[in-house]
C-alpha cells in the first residue's frame, strides 16, 4: 500500500481555561489510507470533534495544539503558516459539519458560495466555475442542478442542504474529507440517502474520509477502520470487523451492549454505570476505570496503546478475550 493520506502522531490539543487545563485530545495517533473511511466514534465530550478541528487547524484560544504531528501527504500541517493553512483548507482537506444551516450563508445564493470556494483555490473563468459547481451538485444527487444553483439555502430541505455542503466539500477534489456528525440531524430515510451518496463518492473519487459520529450503526455500515475515543484518548483501534465484531476494550464492549437493537426485547439493557469523567484535571491512570467492571489496582497506571492482533490495538491493561 502507498503512503497513507493522513498520519496523525501523538496529537495533543489542550484548552487552557481559568479552571485548569482540559486535555480535549491527548495522545491521539491514527492513519487514514486513500479511499478509506475511518470511523471516529465516541460519546459527547470524548474529543472526537476536537480531533477533527485540530486536523483542520480550527482550534481557537484558549485551545492550542501542544504536541504531535499531523502529516497530510507527508507535510506537517501544524507547522504551516496561517496563509499556507488557508490554502490547504477547503482544497486538500475539507470538512462537513453537523448542521448545514450553520455552514451555508443564508443570504447568499448557492452558486455564489460554491464559485467562491472554487476561485479561492484555482484560476478558472466564471463560466468554468459555474459548470464545476453544477457538476458537483449533480454528483451528490441534486436534481436539476442548473436551476438549484440560483436558489438560497432556505429553499432547500435539511437533507438537500447537507448534500450542498458535501458538494462544496468535494469541489476541489480534496484528498481528505472530515465529516463531523453529518447525518445526525437528518431523518433515517434521508440519512440512508446521504450515506449512499458518500459511499459512492469515496469509491469514485478515492478521497479518504474521517467520519466522526456517536452512532455505531452508521460506522458499522460505512467504515473500513474504526477508532473509539474516550476522555480525549483513542482506546481501541482496528478494522470495523475487529472493533465492532470482537471488541477488546471494556468501554467498546459496554457501548455495543448499550445499543437497544443489540438487546433482547424486554430484557434489561446492559448499561455502563456512572458517567463520562470531566476532562478538567483528569487524574492519571485509565480514565474508564471508575466505570469498568474489569478494573484492577494496576489500572491507576495510565495504559498505553498496544497492538493485540494484526491491525487491532487497545489501550487497556486487561483487554477482553
Amino acid at each position: 500500500m502507498s503512503e497513507p493520506v493522513l498520519r496523525v502522531e501523538e496529537l495533543r490539543t489542550h484548552f487552557f481555561t481559568k479552571a485548569g487545563v482540559v486535555k480535549a485530545v491527548d495522545d491521539v495517533s491514527f492513519i487514514v489510507n486513500r479511499g478509506e473511511v475511518m470511523g471516529l466514534v465516541g460519546e459527547s465530550g470524548s474529543g472526537k470533534s476536537m480531533t477533527g478541528y485540530s486536523l483542520m487547524g480550527l482550534i481557537d484560544p484558549p485551545g492550542r495544539i501542544v504536541g504531535g504531528r499531523i502529516l497530510l501527504d507527508g507535510i506537517d500541517v501544524i507547522k504551516l503558516s496561517g496563509e499556507e493553512m488557508r490554502q490547504m483548507r477547503g482544497n486538500r482537506v475539507a470538512m462537513i459539519f453537523q448542521d448545514p444551516m450553520m455552514t451555508l450563508n443564508p443570504v447568499l445564493r448557492i452558486d455564489t458560495q460554491m464559485i467562491e470556494a472554487i476561485v479561492a483555490h484555482r484560476k478558472v473563468s466564471a463560466g468554468d466555475a459555474h459548470a464545476m459547481a453544477a457538476a458537483a451538485l449533480s454528483k451528490v444527487g441534486i436534481p436539476s442542478p442548473e436551476e438549484r444553483l440560483s436558489a438560497y439555502p432556505h429553499q432547500f430541505s435539511g437533507g438537500m442542504r447537507q448534500r450542498v455542503a458535501i458538494a462544496i466539500a468535494l469541489l476541489n477534489e480534496p484528498d481528505l474529507i472530515i465529516a463531523d456528525e453529518p447525518t445526525t440531524a437528518l431523518d433515517v430515510t434521508i440519512q440512508g440517502q446521504i450515506l449512499y451518496e458518500m459511499q459512492k463518492l469515496t469509491r469514485e473519487t478515492g478521497a479518504a474520509v474521517i467520519w466522526i459520529t456517536h452512532d455505531l450503526s452508521v460506522v458499522a455500515g460505512l467504515a473500513d477502520q474504526v477508532s473509539v475515543m474516550y476522555a480525549g484518548r483513542i482506546v481501541e483501534q482496528g478494522t470495523a470487523e475487529q472493533v465492532l465484531g470482537r471488541p477488546r476494550h471494556p468501554y467498546t464492549r459496554g457501548l455495543l451492549d448499550s445499543v437497544p437493537a443489540n438487546n433482547a426485547r424486554g430484557a434489561r439493557l446492559k448499561q455502563i454505570p456512572g458517567m463520562t469523567p470531566s476532562l478538567l484535571d483528569l487524574p492519571p491512570g485509565c480514565p474508564f476505570r471508575e466505570r469498568c467492571s474489569y478494573a484492577q489496582s494496576d489500572c491507576a497506571r495510565t495504559p498505553l496503546m498496544r497492538p493485540l492482533t494484526a491491525g487491532q490495538s487497545v489501550r487497556c491493561h486487561h483487554p477482553l478475550a
Binding site: 459527547s44 458499522a220 465492532l244 459496554g254 457501548l255 445499543v259 437497544p260 437493537a261
Partner: protein, 353 residues
C-alpha cells in the same frame, strides 16, 4: 363524519385486547395560518388567496390499554409529536374525541376533567430546554404536587427526596440548579417531575434522543423499572426504531399525519406490511460489522402543507400503482391486531416482497 357514532368508529379502531386506558377516536389536528390584512384586501378584489392549513394529524384512532407501551414512530413532520400532545391534552383536537377510561374528557365536569388530566403527563425531549434554569430541583419536582394538593408544603422536602431516589438521583442534590447536572441526570430530573404528580399515562416525546448511548441505556432501564413498579402506561414517541423495538409492546407508524401501520412490536418488525414501514426498517441501526450497501428510499419527505393526493407515500413508494394517487387507502386488519393502510392489500393478494 361524526366521530361520536360508534358504528362509524368500530371498524376503523385499532383495538387492543384489554379495555382502553386512553382512546383517541378519529382525532385530527389542523393548524391554520390566518390571512393577513394584505391577503384579505386582495380577496376583496378577487385574488382568492386561501388560508394555509396543515393537517398535522388526520383522523387518527388510537387505543392504549392499561400497562401497555405503545411506540409511535415516524420521521420529522409526520405529526407524531402533535398526536402525543393531543393524547396528553396539551393541544385540543380540531376534530374527534378523547376518552379517558371510556369517558370523553371534553364532556367531563371540570373537576373530574382536571383529575383525569393530572393522570396524564409528558416527558419532553430536551433535558436542557425543558427544565427552568432559574428553579432549584426541589421546586421543579415539588411544585406541582403541592399545587395539586397531593402533598402539603411541609412534606415537600421529604417527598422530593423520595422522587429523586426513585429515579436514581442523590436527594442531597435537590437544592441545586439544572445547570449543575449532566444531560443524563437532567433527564432523570424531568422524569422525577413527571412522576411527582402520580401519573398513570405518560407520553415520552423523544425522551432519550438527546442522550449518549451509554446514558440512554440507563434511562431506558429506568423507564422499564418504573413501569413495572408503578404500573405505568407509555406512549413512547421516537424516530429511533431500535429504541422502539426494544421498549414497545405495540408499534404505530405515522406518515404525514396518518397512521399507515399498527401491529404488535414483534409482528411489525418481523413482518412489516406497509412499504413505508419496510423502508424505515431497512434503515434501522444495526451494529453489524459488515459493509452495508445503502439502498435508500428515494425522494424527500413532502411538505405537510401540500401533501400528495391519495396515499401520502405514493411518490416515494416503489410499488405505487395508479390507484395510489387517487384514493387514500383505509386501515384494514391484515392479520389479527395487525393494521395497515396500503392498496396492495386490497388490489391483489400477491405478497409484497
Amino acid at each position: 363524519m361524526s366521530a361520536a357514532d360508534p358504528s362509524m368508529i368500530a371498524p376503523r379502531s385499532i383495538t387492543g385486547a384489554q379495555p382502553a386506558l386512553i382512546e383517541l377516536n378519529g382525532v385530527s389536528k389542523r393548524f391554520v395560518k390566518p390571512l393577513d390584512v394584505a391577503a384579505r384586501i386582495g380577496n376583496v378584489f378577487g385574488a382568492a388567496i386561501a388560508e394555509e392549513v396543515v393537517h398535522a394529524v388526520d383522523n387518527v384512532d388510537l387505543r392504549i390499554a392499561e400497562g401497555e407501551v405503545v411506540g409511535l414512530v415516524g420521521e420529522s413532520g409526520c405529526g407524531k409529536s402533535t398526536l402525543g400532545r393531543v393524547a396528553v391534552g396539551l393541544l385540543a383536537p380540531s376534530g374527534g374525541q378523547r376518552l379517558w377510561r371510556g369517558e370523553p374528557v371534553e364532556q367531563m365536569r371540570a373537576i373530574s376533567a382536571r383529575r383525569a388530566q393530572l393522570k396524564m403527563q409528558m416527558i419532553f425531549q430536551d433535558p436542557y430546554a425543558s427544565l427552568n434554569p432559574r428553579m432549584r430541583v426541589i421546586d421543579i419536582v415539588g411544585e406541582a404536587p403541592v399545587v395539586h394538593r397531593l402533598i402539603s408544603a411541609k412534606q415537600q422536602v421529604e417527598y422530593v427526596g423520595l422522587m429523586l431516589n426513585k429515579v436514581g438521583l442523590d436527594p442531597t442534590l435537590m437544592r441545586r440548579y439544572p445547570h449543575q447536572f449532566s444531560g443524563g441526570q437532567r433527564a432523570r430530573i424531568g422524569i422525577a417531575r413527571t412522576l411527582a404528580v402520580k401519573p398513570e399515562f405518560i407520553v415520552c416525546d423523544e425522551s432519550v434522543a438527546a442522550l449518549d448511548v451509554s446514558i440512554q441505556a440507563q434511562v431506558l432501564n429506568l423507564f422499564m423499572d418504573l413501569k413495572a413498579a408503578l404500573n405505568l402506561t407509555y406512549l413512547f414517541i421516537s424516530h429511533d426504531l431500535g429504541v422502539v423495538q426494544y421498549i414497545a409492546d405495540r408499534v404505530v407508524v405515522m406518515y404525514l399525519g396518518r397512521v399507515v401501520e399498527s401491529a404488535p412490536a414483534a409482528k411489525l418488525f418481523n413482518q412489516p406490511n406497509h412499504p413505508y414501514t419496510k423502508a424505515l426498517l431497512a434503515e434501522i441501526g444495526r451494529v453489524e460489522p459488515k459493509k452495508r450497501k445503502f439502498a435508500p428510499v428515494v425522494g424527500e419527505i413532502p411538505s405537510p402543507l401540500h401533501p400528495p393526493s391519495g396515499c401520502h407515500f405514493h411518490p416515494r413508494c416503489p410499488y405505487a400503482m395508479p390507484v395510489c394517487s387517487e384514493t387514500s387507502p383505509a386501515l384494514i386488519e391484515v392479520s389479527p391486531r395487525h393494521w395497515s393502510a396500503c392498496h396492495l392489500n386490497t388490489v391483489s393478494n400477491t405478497a409484497v416482497r
